[in-house]
């Protein structure tokens, strides 16, 4: 069954007719040709499909496109502005925070969302004091990035990249 929806993807307004079963991930990749969010597990376990949905990090494989009519979606492909890399993208390059790169767009979107969460004082399971402003320690980054798997295990470089992007000396 089909439905008509409007979305803004990486700043571009889109109007599409979609099968109600279409996930946001399949819409981005198969309909719009935006292959930066990756299909890893397709069950919300690996994080490779992470995008920013109305500014917050989200799993596009578990979002039905039809349920997000009117949403603003930002993929890793849309983070750079006027040829200038996003600070998180630059930090991943500086720190060599990937090997094969398959999980990287999801890692980067997740890190962008994470830094906004930390800026707003959101706690994590790694925060000893739930009411104190969280610090961007390695333990905090590891916990907050636990929804993004890297099968090359580049974690040892991803964690300092996220810290660097957050203005913390790793």
């Amino acid at each position: 069954m089909d439905a008509e929806i409007s979305l803004t993807v990486d700043g571009v307004p889109r109007r599409l007719t979609v099968d109600t079963r279409t996930t946001l991930l399949d819409l981005l990749r198969e309909r719009l040709g935006n292959t930066s969010p990756k299909k890893g597990c397709d069950h919300g376990q690996c994080g490779a499909c992470t995008v920013l949905l109305d500014g917050e990090r989200a799993l596009s494989c578990l979002a039905l496109a039809v349920a997000h009519d009117g949403a603003e979606v930002t993929t890793a492909d849309g983070l750079a502005t006027e040829g200038e890399l996003h600070p998180v993208q630059q930090a991943f390059l500086d720190r060599d925070a990937f090997q094969c790169g398959y999980c990287t767009p999801g890692q980067i979107c997740s890190a962008v969302g994470l830094l906004r969460e930390v800026d707003r004082g959101w706690p994590s399971h790694a925060s000893a004091d739930l009411t104190a402003d969280p610090q961007l320690t390695a333990a905090e980054v590891a916990e907050r990035m636990s929804g993004n798997l890297c099968r090359c295990a580049a974690y040892a470089h991803i964690v300092p990249a996220v810290q660097q992007a957050g203005g913390v000396q790793p």
Binding site: M1, A3, D19, T20, R21, T23, D42, H43, G44, G47, T50, L53, E56, R57, A58, L59, C61, L62, A63, L64, V66, A67, S110, G113, L114, E117, R120, G121, W122, P123, S124, H125, S127, L130, T131, A142, E143, R144, M145, S146, G147
Partner: protein, 338 residues
């Protein structure tokens, strides 16, 4: 994925009416569990009724000093709320111990307690499962039981062919905390509104393992109310799992200590969050020494039935639950002495 119709009605009441009259209809909120089930074939609805924007997303103060969590508030928003972190640390800790940042941004207050078991057989449509397909049997008995129940099951190795057999556990961390907090669930149904004490929301398998909760078809959670805790009350959530992050509980404990009052809820142990009422009765009014707590938990777990199975079964949960409760209460008591 089986085709389905999708609607987003104009109000919660309208959504309730639409689901109530269509046996093949389901509510959709954050979708983190339902969309996965659509893909797996575990859920095969004819109609998906989207309620994500139809209930309140606000967290508001109640006149009695408690808090009301609108059903559409996300798990992230609840943990970010300063009132929750200061007054109900057990709830913030439980939510933060579950899932990942991405999932908590989507999962909602109304949806999280209604997520379904992660029993591997329930999620695999090629196996027999009384919860997924009533009357088909239970593939978990004698199988991979590491994450399965030891409480609320009749015996070790119940009859796998019996239609009532189910040894699944409820996976929600949030639900364990809400059980210990004596939360109240606000529900809108075809017959109007009702309030359900959180501890009565979830069921044991009984004769109908396919039913996780007492909600009738068409009933929608609109809010969860947290009653005020007495001043000086302390609370905590402790979760034991196979990985440091992003794993379901083997055993978890939500505890509230308020003066003489001790409340203990266990996760990972039963088909529903398990309120340890026998242990609570033994501990109320007495000193929370390690010996007293361990003894109370031994009494609580007298009826536990370790399930044999692959990799040694799940008998380890019984001493683990006791140790986890001891550790949780020890930390809470030590905090009080500081």
């Amino acid at each position: 994925m089986k085709p389905f119709a999708y609607t987003r009605p104009g109000s919660a009441a309208e959504a309730v009416r639409e689901v109530a009259v269509e046996p093949g209809a389901v509510f959709l909120a954050g979708g983190t569990n339902l969309v996965d089930h659509l893909k797996l074939g575990v859920a095969r609805p004819d109609l998906v009724v989207d309620v994500r924007t139809l209930t309140s997303r606000e967290i508001t103060d109640l006149p009695d000093g408690g808090l009301r969590l609108g059903a559409a508030s996300t798990n992230s928003e609840v943990t970010a709320d300063r009132r929750v972190r200061e007054r109900y640390p057990v709830l913030a800790q439980a939510l933060l111990a579950g899932a990942t940042g991405q999932l908590r941004n989507a999962a909602t207050t109304g949806g999280n307690p209604l997520q379904r078991t992660r029993c591997v057989y329930f999620q695999d449509v090629t196996t027999r499962c009384n919860k997924r397909e009533p009357g088909s049997g239970c593939s978990a008995v004698g199988g991979y039981t590491r994450y399965h129940a030891v409480l609320g099951v009749g015996s070790a190795m119940p009859d796998p062919t019996a239609p009532e057999t189910c040894i699944a556990t409820h996976p929600s961390d949030m639900a364990v905390a809400l059980t210990a907090l004596d939360a109240q669930v606000q529900v809108l149904g075809p017959a109007g509104e009702r309030t359900i004490p959180f501890g009565e929301l979830h069921r044991l398998p009984g004769d109908h393992p396919s039913r996780d909760t007492v909600l009738e078809h068409g009933e929608l959670i609109t809010a969860v109310d947290l009653p005020p805790l007495p001043s000086g009350a302390r609370s905590a959530y402790r979760k034991v799992r196979d990985r440091a992050s992003y794993a379901f509980a083997l055993v978890s404990v939500a505890a509230v200590v308020a003066g003489e009052d001790v409340r203990i809820a266990l996760g990972g142990m039963a088909h529903r969050p398990w309120r340890a009422t026998r242990a609570e009765a033994l501990l109320t009014g007495g000193p929370l020494t390690e010996h007293a707590v361990a003894h109370a938990m031994e009494v609580e777990l007298t009826a536990a039935q370790p399930q044999p199975g692959l990799e040694g079964g799940n008998g380890f949960k019984i001493p683990l639950a006791t140790r986890t409760v001891v550790a949780t209460l020890r930390d809470l008591t030590a905090e009080a002495l500081r």
